[in-house]
Amino acid sequence: MKTPYSAFSLLRGAFNGQKHWEPAWRDPEPRASYDVIIIGGGGHGLATAYYLAKVHGIRNVAVLEKSWIGGGNVGRNTTLVRSNYRLPQLHNFFEFGLKLWHNLSDDLNYNVMFSPRGAMFLGHNDGDMIKLAERGDAMRCDGIDAELLTPKQIAKIEPLLDLSRNARFPIDGALIQWRAGTARHDAVAWGYARAADALGVDIIQKCEVTGFVRYGNKITGVETTRGRILAGRTGICVAGHSGHVAGLAGLELPIESQTLQALVTEGVKPMVQSVVMSQSLHFYISQSDKGGIVMGGDPDNWPSYARRGQPTIKEHAIAQAVTCMPALSRLRMLRTWSGVTDMSFDGAPIIGTTPIDGLYLNAGWCYGGFKATPASGWTYAHTLATGKPHELNAPFSLERFMTGATIDETAVGPMPNHR
């Protein structure tokens, strides 16, 4: 057993130079076969492995990661966690996840620093406010917390927002979800990895899948840069690169890969308490524990796998944020990063079976994958363990696009670049 993490153990380390800590996860050689192979050592893949082992008792599991774990979108996002969606399929799914978030640190014995500091959508006119009320009412009727705020109430939480009436986009109110917040993104990947590893899951880094082993219409394993590995069931879990990996199995998906950029400023003393998002403007900001203002905006809405964004897209998001919070003006952008996102054709994820036996798909997270990590892992583990979707991910099937049962939160239709 690994040394459990605790304050006591840390103190003990103060006297031994912290020499008693083992590696957080092993570095095993791949075996010839597993019950389940998960392609992709990101947050979702590691969470899936953890819940397979913990909930379903399936421990003969490998997570194959082409590079280093947590290096994909779980390590390059803006760390927001919330369940404040309008459509029931989405808010029910994310709410299930939010409940898992609230105890995740204890469950994993790894502090993922989930901090329910509240996430608010600003409304800038009466029309926005009605839409926010509609969203909040839909959530509340389904038992999810949501509260409308007046500008005065907003001022108490975020005094640096421009709440003047003559602002270009005056702030008329907000819908806040108090139980939403932020978490430490890397810790989520590492915490799941450490916990899954402790349950016997093999986490195999620097192992890139280059093809599938196929018998008729069944996938029975994968070809990798470290050799052939067979599996009873194989789950793709590589959001951002789903089109590419599914393509190796001959699947074409309702997905286009786009770049989503984010940035953080130099650290300053606390100035933003919650997560602030805007309904009409497209930015979101929060402040990290180190003091940096973390923000993002719209994706670069054309296809790319490059993890390299365009400056003017970022500048536009910054203009929107500075307009709403003028005190950001003299802060400095310190670091930028980009993720490759799976833009699905209704904006909702895909978790479920595929037309190919033995092959499962977890994809299409658009820019909302981080917050979904526990729920995605939980439901995908259920699907991989039982061969059938969990009731929460049943609506998110791959077939829905052809049948028309799309889950279109933003209601702009099939073109991700119009979203």
């Binding site: 690169h241 089109g243 590419h244 393509g247 074409e252 998906l253 309702p254 997905i255 286009e256 890969s257 809405n301 054309w302 296809p303 790319s304 796998y305 490059a306 390299r308 365009q310 400056p311 003017t312 054709f345 696009f401 052809m402 099939p414 073109m415 670049n417």
Partner: protein, 87 residues
């Protein structure tokens, strides 16, 4: 920010352009329903070259097809596709 060589205006900043979709997702209005939905809801989405429809929206407003690499962002070819291309 890319530099896109518009077939009509020459090299221009990407800001003037909008991306529409890939050529493999063009829905022929005359196609049967199944073919049309297949076109609309699947993309090759390769980690390499693909053909994309762009428009010089804030320039000459014309439409064109870019052959562009999804990783290097190199634009290998641009060709006009509007009525002017039929002339």
């Amino acid at each position: 920010m890319y530099q896109i060589t518009c077939p009509h205006c020459g090299p221009r900043a990407q800001t003037e352009f909008t991306y529409e979709r890939t050529t493999d997702s063009v829905v022929d209005p005359a196609a049967d329903a199944h073919t049309a939905m297949q076109a609309l809801y699947t993309r090759a989405n390769p980690m390499g070259l693909d053909e994309e429809i762009w428009r010089h929206t804030y320039g000459c407003r014309a439409w064109m097809v870019l052959t562009r690499h999804r990783v290097t962002h190199v634009i290998e070819a641009v060709k006009a596709i509007g009525p002017e291309a039929l002339a």
